[in-house]
Amino acid sequence: MNIQIENLTKTYGPQIAVNDISFNVKTGEVLGFLGPNGAGKSTTMKMITGYIGLENGDVKIGGTSIKEEPDDIKKHIGYLPENNPLYLEMPVIDYLQFCAAIQGLNNSKTNNRIKEMIGLCGLNREKHKKIGELSKGYRQRVGIAQAMIHDPEVLILDEPTTGLDPNQIIEIRKLIRDLGKEKTVILSTHILPEVEATCDRILIINKGNIVADGTADTLRKQAEGNEVLHVCIEDEKPEIILESLNKLDTIKEVGFINKDNNLFELQSSVNESSRRSVFDLCVQKKWALTQLTPLETKLEDIFRNLTLN
């Protein structure tokens, strides 16, 4: 089931939470939803899941508008709200049973699904405890389990990995990746490496507007500009090396990072790579090239550039 968001808008008083955003998510795609605090991520998710009404625009899931058939669509959505609200006084198993029943799962299916979810989310030892007795990470697992209990075609996860330990984070990311092969997943997060590890596509929103949309690689290419290399060349005085490097035509700028270690930073001209020419220069002069590291623009930098203004 694909998701189409068309001109979605939401205002809270004078504040515009979501400003006329449109995007599509295809079946089999994991969309990472990024943005600083208060950017409108959760508001958008609440509108997609039908918790708050649409002020303007439309959300279509599998071609059906959420305005027309809200109750039918909800059966196909699994949602993990932010802060992961749960009935703390209920035991894990009872809670999952309740969630399955309310989503219209029949009894014979329910027990199998619950077993599956408990195994998948690593809840076996805690299944008879009350949710209130569980630690934050285990509660998060219960939240993920309840979102997936009815095997929904669309998963909306608001910060799914908060509070989990590193092992569990890796497992949940793998789970999301696997699910993302057949289902449509939207997840929001603050953890940027997580987006790279799990998402096919990244959507960055800031102050209610979409500021970037694409795969991690395309975003990087857009933000990158010129190639930047860290180079370490030995067997000669740093000044002489600097001078020779400056003479290469593919290089725009060279500077020292650390003069004592002969470490340089060099920036290539537009659309040029100077990796080969640096190597050739060293061969020619019989210098030892001990380091050549292309510097990738980090997702963090892209994120900061787009959202700080």
């Binding site: 809270y12 899941t49 918790y51 609200p85 989503q103």
Partner: protein, 241 residues
């Protein structure tokens, strides 16, 4: 329908899990039992084999206890955020409200059923008027239905349980006392109007065995109004603040 039942069942289970149900039952039976059998204008003082005394006491006990049962129904869900969880599943606002209403009402009914030993005891002492007793219970039931709906509405407008409790009592006070007082102070059409709004007069006529369709219509319409307003309050979240 199935969804409503699931929600009602969960509410009832939560009551019994968290001891609230036992507290309510013990206090309800304690209060009504004490004043029916042991103290004040009790059955032995009246000296008649009917449960009039009990029905009167119970109507007051329920007036205070029903808000205590309903106060957490929606207020707590709002506060903890579980409302979002429920309403993004395949549950409509109406199903949720009716489910909560039924869950609370079931607990009240359990409390009423727990007073059956009073009936049995009295039937053994003397010649009990079965029809009258049945009508008394019917009156208590209809009153409970009405107050539960009011309580659910009060719980829907706030995320604070205390506020929900006080507000339910405040609305209840009008129906239980103030309309009655006003009815006595006014004559003519206005007095008639207030008398029609007064829960006590309807409750008394039902428990006396004079069951008129207007009594039933009255209780049901206040109930439907309460539940309708609660549903409207939930729908409000869709509007921009």
């Amino acid at each position: 329908m199935y969804t409503i039942w699931i929600i009602a069942k969960r509410e009832l289970a939560t009551f019994f899990d968290s001891l609230i149900a036992y507290m309510i039952l013990v206090l309800f039976l304690g209060f009504s039992g004490f004043f029916t059998w042991l103290y004040g204008n009790d059955i032995f003082l009246v000296g008649q084999t009917n449960l009039r005394v009990f029905f009167n006491i119970a109507s007051w006990t329920l007036f205070f206890f029903i808000p205590a049962i309903t106060m957490k129904m929606l207020a707590e869900e709002k506060k903890t955020g579980t409302l979002e969880l429920l309403l993004t599943k395949a549950v409509t606002n109406r199903q949720l409200i009716i489910g909560k209403f039924l869950g609370s009402l079931l607990l009240v009914c359990i409390a009423l059923v727990a007073t059956l030993p009073y009936v049995i005891t009295l039937a053994n002492i003397g010649n009990l008027d079965n029809g009258g007793t049945l009508c008394g219970y019917l009156g208590l039931f209809l009153m409970s239905v009405t107050y539960t709906a009011i309580g659910i509405f009060a719980s829907s407008i706030t995320n604070n349980q205390i506020v929900a409790f006080m507000f339910a009592l405040f609305i209840g006070l009008f129906f239980h006392i103030i309309f009655g007082v006003l009815a006595n102070n006014f004559t003519g059409a206005i007095g008639q109007l207030f008398d029609t709004l007064n829960v006590q007069s309807h409750f008394e006529s039902v428990s006396r065995g004079v069951i008129d369709s207007k009594n039933i219509v009255y209780f049901l319409s206040v109930t439907v109004l309460g539940l309708f307003l609660a549903e409207r309050t939930l729908v409000q979240r869709h509007l921009s603040k």
